[in-house]
Amino acid sequence: MLSQGESEFAFGAVEFLDGSPNTPLPNAKVFVPVEFLGRGLEIPVLCLLDTGADWSVLNWEIALKLGCHEHTPIGEVRYGTRHGPIEGDLVRVPYRIRALQGRSLEGEATFFLSKDWPKNEPSILGYNGLLQHLNFALRPSENQFYFGYAV
């Protein structure tokens, strides 16, 4: 897929949406299709790629349906957001990025869950516990998001 020297940089790619899904005009936001897994369900949704976000966030309604709120929390945090601080738990959530080219990535990563997370905010792919462990790159001319393991 993509290599850097002799090592593999990315083994899969998927198309991203450049702009808020609910508005017709493109903007600076990048949304990546991600599938969340649990209770025998696969829930494909768009997640905002946000390297400036401390934590990944999963929409509370999706977390409830998948039973993620029943996972043993591995931490509690007070997350500073533009809506003010929000209290919540950090849990490990199974997910998949399904490749349109190459191989898909399936794994488990740390997500922030809170019933107070605003309903109209998207789920987020943030840095700690997720993006920090991935190689990723964008090809804007083709709206391709490339991904692989960070080694």
């Binding site: 508005t23 494909p44 349906k65 898909s104 794994g107 920090q132």
Partner: protein
């Protein structure tokens, strides 16, 4: 904190791709505004179902055995 920041458990898989995602993106750009505040289930750029809450949407999808390529809250 070490556990919180632990590397994700990864594997690469050969899942069947879902090339319909472009059609779903197009549907969102053109029609999401009409469904503001509601959850929708899409497949290949077609609306399968729309509900007020996510739980009802997934239940409807499962009871009708629909294959969804994208869930989204408009």
């Amino acid at each position: 904190m070490k556990k919180v920041l632990a590397p994700p458990v990864f594997q690469s898989t050969s899942q069947e791709s879902r090339s319909e995602i472009q059609s779903d993106f197009r549907w969102l750009r053109e029609r999401a505004k009409k469904f503001s505040g509601r959850w929708v289930a899409l497949r290949n750029g077609k609306l399968l179902a729309a509900t007020e809450n996510f739980n009802d949407l997934v239940d409807e999808v499962r009871s009708n055995q629909l294959d969804v390529t994208l869930y989204h809250r408009c």
